[in-house]
Amino acid sequence: MTDSLKILIVEDEALLAMELESLVEDAGHSVVGWATSLAEARAMIDSTRADIAFVDIHLTDGPTGIDVAEYIDGRKNAMVVFMTANPKRIPDHFAGAIGVIAKPYTTNGVTSALRYLQEGVRRPPPTSERPAGFTLSPAFETVWAPGR
């Protein structure tokens, strides 16, 4: 079994962040932090080591999720998966993110996505099938799912 993932949650809704944390832990991974704004997210990215950041587009200080993704992309110390009810706001280049889990997601969808991401991060490309609720960015599509 490959190593579990360290997850950073960037989400302004406390309820969703709490439940997502439980889901992540149920799947055998750990949550290293929860940020609700761009500033908090930056501070946590600098002070913790996360494998994946689940980033909502809309945070307490506005639609700054894209900025969070760009910051992480610049530091190269984690990978981003957007988690948003507004996938149309994601720029075409995805700001370097792996992909997006569109809200409302299902618990099974998140669990499958975590397994898929674990394979992709630890031993790319992932071997299991891409979960239905998960969309890859064009850049990762060519690397993780060529010819599919």
């Binding site: 809704e13 889901l23 569109a102 299902t106 618990t107 099974n108």
Partner: protein, 382 residues
């Protein structure tokens, strides 16, 4: 008259003035010009300042002058304060170039009132090609000009009004679109919140039956969420692909639960239903599939279940057929009619005017749903 003093042999029309002048008896063409209702004058460019040498009665009536007041004068006395300089320049150029000209010009009568004059000027040459006279006719076109001005003004007014209205509508549309996105965003977040609340509650419950109940409720809400997500991700929010939904549902249920021992067989034609049918159809499919996964297969000693589940969707002539089958324990093992799931399926079937039938497939169960769909909806949607 001074015309007699300066008369020259080539001045043919002066001859007619002399001979039977007022009656024009000697020359029927001259008589016609004198008497016509069309205002006409003749000027002589060979004389100083190109003066009027003939004016018919119609010209005098139109301008309000007496004949002796106009003869020997250049036409410019008809101009006034509002006469356009450009029109005057055109006339001057035509005289200088000895060419034809047709121009609308604002002229003034003797009493100071103005009128629009549709002026036509034409040079008259002798055999050698030398210009002898200029012939000019005038027509009072004030009415036409007024309506032209009115039409132009109306057109400008309408164009402005249309522009304003278009801008208003565009702004309203943009506000509506923003509002729709906002509402869509909130609905999605709220659906996610409802799921989270149920999950959190479920984590604190120790009673297994209650936990199962909450789990089933979560599955139903997630089915609704998936319908909403798929509808608003697609380009057309009025149509819903049931086959895509079924494919997602089965992969969602099977891949996450780790039930790789359960083998799905999917035969799914692309089937589109109108948005208002999306939720009941999706809920029904969800109910049948989750039911089969929960109850059809007996647990092995190691706690896993195995078997196969099939979903078949087709639409022969205006009907949508859905078939969910399993090779499990059969109908004896299925929960009874009294269960909420069964009541839900039957109620949804009634709402959709669907026929639903449970068949013993030995082994397993086959549920067949048939409901009206197809071309009649395409008409309604477009």
């Amino acid at each position: 008259m001074d015309t007699k003093r300066t008369r020259e042999p080539a001045d043919a029309w002066h001859m007619t003035d002399d001979l039977h002048a007022e009656q024009g008896k000697g020359d029927p063409f001259a008589a016609a010009i004198r008497a016509t209702r069309m205002s006409m004058i003749i000027t002589d460019p060979r004389r100083q300042d190109n003066p009027i040498v003939f004016a018919n009665d119609a010209f005098l009536r139109m301008t309000g002058y007496e004949r002796h007041e106009v003869l020997g004068r250049n036409c410019r006395f008809l101009q006034g304060p509002k006469t356009e300089k450009a029109a005057v320049a055109q006339i001057r150029a035509a005289i200088a170039d000895e060419t034809d000209l047709s121009v609308d010009i604002l002229n003034y009568r003797k009493d100071g009132s103005s009128f629009w004059n549709a002026l036509y000027i034409s040079p008259v040459s002798n055999d050698k090609g030398e210009v002898q006279f200029f012939f000019a006719s005038q027509l009072d076109v004030s009415d036409r000009k007024r309506s032209e001005h009115r039409i132009t003004a109306d057109k400008e007014r309408f164009e402005k009004a249309v522009k304003e209205r278009t801008a208003e509508l565009e702004a309203a549309l943009e506000a509506q679109t923003t509002l729709l996105h906002e509402v869509d965003h909130r609905v999605k977040n709220n659906l996610q919140m409802i799921s989270s609340l149920i999950l959190m509650q479920s984590r604190t419950v120790s009673d297994e039956n209650l936990k199962r109940s909450l789990g089933t409720m979560l599955e139903r809400i997630e089915a609704l969420s998936t319908v909403h997500r798929r509808l608003y991700q697609s380009k057309d929010v009025s149509k819903f692909d049931v086959s895509d939904f079924a494919r997602d549902l089965i992969s969602d249920l099977l891949t996450a639960s780790g039930r790789s021992e359960i083998n799905p067989t999917l035969e799914l034609e692309p089937i589109v239903v109108p948005a208002e049918k999306a939720t009941p159809v999706a809920l029904m499919v969800n109910e049948l599939v989750t039911n089969a996964l929960k109850h059809a297969f007996k647990e092995r000693p190691d706690g896993t279940k195995s078997g196969s589940i099939g979903i078949k969707m087709s639409q022969p002539d205006g009907h949508l057929n859905i078939e969910v089958s399993d090779d499990g324990v059969g109908m004896a093992g299925a929960n009874g009619d009294a269960s909420f799931g069964m009541r839900l399926i039957k109620s949804l079937a009634r709402q959709l005017r669907a026929d639903i039938e449970w068949r013993d497939a030995g082994p397993g169960t086959r549920v067949v749903i048939s409901m009206p769909n197809g071309p009649q909806h395409k008409g309604n949607l477009s």
